[in-house]
């Protein structure tokens, strides 16, 4: 089971790279959705079965895997934009940075004092790497949607770490997860559509009228 979890985590890392590398919005949205589904499955792999667990899994998969991607896709469609044009940083450099950060996070996690049972997972490095990638997207992409994708990725990273605490303090973890989902949908559902109405575009480089001259 454990090895399975690790393989899934490797998959998560791969997805990070995909969404770092791609320029097609739809594609990166799908990638994040896939990541969400995987994360939804993960708890089932590391914890003993319980209806409570099932509930969590279902909610996460539904939200991260379907609802949010749907919203995003609708936004993309209504805004008629396909690609992230002129990113702040090129794709290749971004990928390299992503690789660097992933490596660093593995090294960093090696230093951290871990709970014995978690020693042989790659949960910690994976989560840190995912957060880093999320941040990378947030700092290098201009379009609102891509930034949302980055935000979601950040959340995924946090979620992965949360899995380590799942049995220690389930309530806390769930609260965190649910709240993030709430924010996610809130941002996506309402704000994006409002932006659409105002700007008929989700290019945040248009959202730069508020600044110091």
């Amino acid at each position: 089971m454990i090895s399975l979890a690790d393989q899934f985590l490797v998959l998560v890392l791969l997805i990070n790279f995909i969404s770092l590398g791609t320029s097609r919005l739809v594609f990166s949205i799908r990638a994040v959705a896939a990541q969400g589904v995987i994360l939804g499955i993960l708890p089932g792999l590391i914890h003993p079965f319980s209806w409570h667990l099932v509930g969590i899994t279902v909610v996460i998969i539904a939200a991260k895997g379907f609802v949010i991607p749907l919203l995003l896709n609708r936004a993309v469609r209504s805004a008629e934009i396909k690609r992230e044009m002129e990113p702040f940083l090129g794709y290749v450099p971004t990928l390299l940075l992503g690789a660097l950060f992933t490596a660093l996070s593995f090294g960093f996690a090696g230093k951290l004092p871990l709970y014995p049972e978690h020693q042989n997972y790659i949960f910690v490095p994976a989560s840190i790497a995912t957060m880093m990638s999320g941040f990378l997207i947030l700092t290098t992409r201009r379009k609102a949607i891509t930034q949302v994708v980055g935000y979601l990725m950040l959340e995924n990273g946090i979620f992965i770490f949360g899995l380590l605490l799942a049995e220690a303090m389930p309530v806390m973890v769930e609260a965190g997860v649910l709240l993030d989902l709430l924010v996610g949908t809130f941002v996506m559902g309402i704000v994006l559509n409002q932006i659409n109405r105002e700007f008929s575009s989700l290019d945040t480089s248009r959202l730069t009228s508020l600044k110091e001259e």
Partner: protein, 666 residues
């Protein structure tokens, strides 16, 4: 001498009561709908306060020990102590006198009948300003001192911007507010360091601190910046000319006569903390003072704006006082009682003198502005015939401020000179006599400036037609001026008594100096002779006048036009104006002050009428401060690009902070 005062319960209580009365003087006016009564009530209350406060502070001045009270407050800065020692009482006197005189003057100068909208606020803040200054000298807790200090500064600001519709006034107000706030910042540092030193926010007792540690250097410079900027020591004087020029005249009188002295009070009070102010401090004060005096008077000579001239001469006088204080400190540090005695007496006496003749002149300028409707001396002239009483009173002020016998200005300078000369007999620090010629030069330029002022405003023929206001002012405006003029003459004619007024403050300021050692030595007998010569002078003047009248009566007296040297069509515009009067002198001091002249360029054979503009420029402000400000502004403008509205950049900031902190943590 003051046994009469024993009927009062306790002079200190009396003083505090009169302070409260002064502070509340303007309050009724705020609530009285119909204008008029409020102002009269305020004037009456201020006068009453003065009548109570002046004897009280005299009693406190001659009291043997300081009266101390604890103010019960809930602020977490230790107990709030109020105390009135002779030094405080000394500074209390001008507050009451000038305050009362000004509020009386305001009745005629700023009548609520014609200034309905601004008068209540003006009256209110005027009372507040006076009261805060009185409280300031009583405060013995750093926190309380700062609060009162800032109340003083702010009420002065609101008085200044009374006519804020005028752009000039607004700019002056902003300049003032900024510089006073910076001064307060320095004082924050000062009192914090003091608290760090003494462990509480109460003022340390006299002579308990030793000046021999690097921290003290820092502390002293903070104090010098904080208090010096209020007193107007160069180059911290920037706010002063514009402020005094644009405030209503009786406010300028209070500011220049008393508020500047509060800065000096701060310096005096700070010095009492230390048992051994080193030579360096004295030297610093002396140098700063004399250069302030020189620069100030030269600036004054160049002005054409009546009140700016007065303001710059205030800077000059503050400079003289500071220099005298500095020399006194030098004397103290070198155990030279004579030098200390004479210069300290000069400094303190000059504080009083300046608090008498400067308000007199500012009130006079108020009368003049009231009459001529402007401040440009080049457009005045001939007012002496329209308002003879105001003219002669202003003349008294002018003579006094030039430091000419037989008026009070001469006495303090006389003592200062004498002190400096006395140093000639010693072996060390003889170089300070070099202040003497500098002082003489200051005196000469002062004479020039004020001859210019008096001549351009009151003498000659009017350079333009004045409105109906140009007549003798009412008694409410003349009475205060007359009071000041009389005081100036009295101190000038009876200096030995004036000195008696000063000596308690000297003793409480430097308790460790044995002034008795200096007293018997011949210096003081000089003052008695001085008053004798003064009377003799008046006698001779009277005699010559009688002789001349006698001659006049025996022969016909003819009246005719001024002899125009053969030129037939002389007009009033051809008189020497203020600017041309000082032009040659100012050109001598070209380095210090610039006379900016915008010459029109004439074209063609018959050029149409053009204007030639000339105005003096404050070198410090235009050469140093303004460029620095602009440079800083430019740098800031460049840095503002950090907030360029790009979301990903903001994210980058967060990310970077996170990384840096992580690296720092590990």
């Amino acid at each position: 001498m003051f046994s009469v005062l024993q009927v009062f319960p306790d002079p200190a209580i009396l003083a505090i009561i009169s302070v409260l009365i002064t502070g509340c003087a303007g309050v009724p006016g705020l609530f009285i709908r119909t204008g008029g009564p409020g102002q009269y009530i305020a004037a009456a209350m201020t006068l009453l306060a003065a009548l109570l406060g002046i004897p009280a502070s005299l009693a406190l001045l001659f009291a043997s020990k300081a009266a101390t009270y604890i103010l019960d407050w809930s602020l977490p800065f230790g107990s709030c102590e109020l105390a009135i020692d002779p030094l405080s009482a000394f500074f209390l006197l001008p507050v009451f006198t000038v305050g009362a005189a000004g509020s009386l003057f305001a009745l005629g100068y700023w009548p609520s009948a014609s200034h309905r909208s601004t008068e209540p606020g003006l009256t209110f803040f005027y009372g507040l300003l006076a009261a805060s200054m009185a409280l300031l000298v009583m405060a013995r807790n750093g926190m309380f001192f700062l609060m009162v200090w800032e109340i003083m500064a702010l009420s002065a600001y609101f008085l200044l911007v009374t006519e804020h519709e005028r752009e000039e006034v607004r700019r002056a107000g902003t300049l003032y507010l900024i510089s006073t706030h910076i001064g307060t910042g320095a004082l924050l540092i000062f009192f914090s360091l003091l608290a760090a030193r003494s462990g509480s926010f109460l003022f340390p007792a006299a002579g308990t601190l030793s000046a021999l540690s690097p921290v003290m250097m820092f502390l002293a410079s903070a104090a010098l910046i904080g208090f010096g900027s209020k007193a107007g020591i160069m180059p911290l004087h920037l706010w002063l000319p514009a402020t005094h020029a644009n405030a209503p005249s009786h406010v300028s009188a209070l500011m220049s006569g008393v508020m500047l002295k509060m800065g000096l009070y701060g310096i005096f009070r700070t010095l009492t903390f230390f048992s051994d102010p080193p030579l360096l401090w004295g030297a610093t004060l002396a140098v700063a003072g004399i250069s302030t005096a020189l620069a100030g008077i030269v600036f004054a000579a160049a002005q054409r704006d009546l009140k700016r001239l007065l303001a710059y001469s205030s800077i000059e006088n503050i400079g003289i006082i500071t220099a005298a204080l500095g020399v006194a400190l030098l004397g103290h540090a070198s155990n030279n009682a004579t030098l200390t005695y004479l210069c300290l007496a000069a400094a303190l006496l000059h504080i009083y003198n300046h608090a008498l003749f400067k308000p007199l002149l500012f009130l006079g300028s108020g009368v003049v502005i009231h009459a001529s409707g402007g401040r440009d001396m080049n457009l005045m002239g001939g007012l002496g015939k329209l308002m003879p009483k105001a003219a002669i009173l202003s003349l008294a002020g002018v003579i006094a401020i030039c430091g000419i016998p037989p008026f009070n200005g001469f006495i303090s300078e006389f003592l200062f000179y004498l002190g400096l000369f006395s140093q000639l007999q010693t072996t060390k620090m003889i170089f300070i006599v070099m202040l003497v010629p500098a002082l003489a030069l200051v005196g000469g330029v002062a004479l020039l400036s004020f001859t210019k002022l008096f001549g351009a405003v009151f003498l000659g023929t009017p350079r333009r037609h004045f409105n109906s206001h140009a007549r003798e002012p009412g008694w409410t405006m003349l009475l205060p001026m007359a009071f000041f003029a009389m005081a100036c003459l009295l101190i000038g004619l009876l200096p030995q008594y004036a000195l008696r007024l000063v000596s308690p403050a000297m003793v409480s300021f430097m308790p460790d100096v044995n002034f008795a050692a200096a007293y018997p030595s011949g210096y003081i007998s000089g003052l008695g002779r001085l008053s004798m010569v003064g009377f003799l002078l008046l006698l001779i003047i009277v005699a010559v006048t009688f002789f001349w009248q006698w001659r006049l009566r025996r022969k016909p007296v003819v009246f005719g036009a001024t002899w125009g040297c053969g030129y037939q069509r002389a007009t009033a515009r051809m008189q020497y104006v203020a600017t041309s009067f000082s032009e040659s002198a100012v050109s001598v001091f070209d380095g210090i002050v610039r006379q900016r002249v915008e010459r029109p360029h004439l074209t063609g054979l018959f050029p149409r009428p053009v204007a030639c503009l000339d105005f003096p420029s404050d070198t410090v402000l235009e050469q140093i401060i303004t460029p620095v400000f602009n440079a800083t502004g430019g740098a800031f403008a460049f840095m503002r690009r950090l907030q360029n509205g790009q979301m990903h950049l903001y994210m980058l900031y967060i990310f970077a902070t996170l990384l840096i902190l992580m690296l720092w943590a590990h």
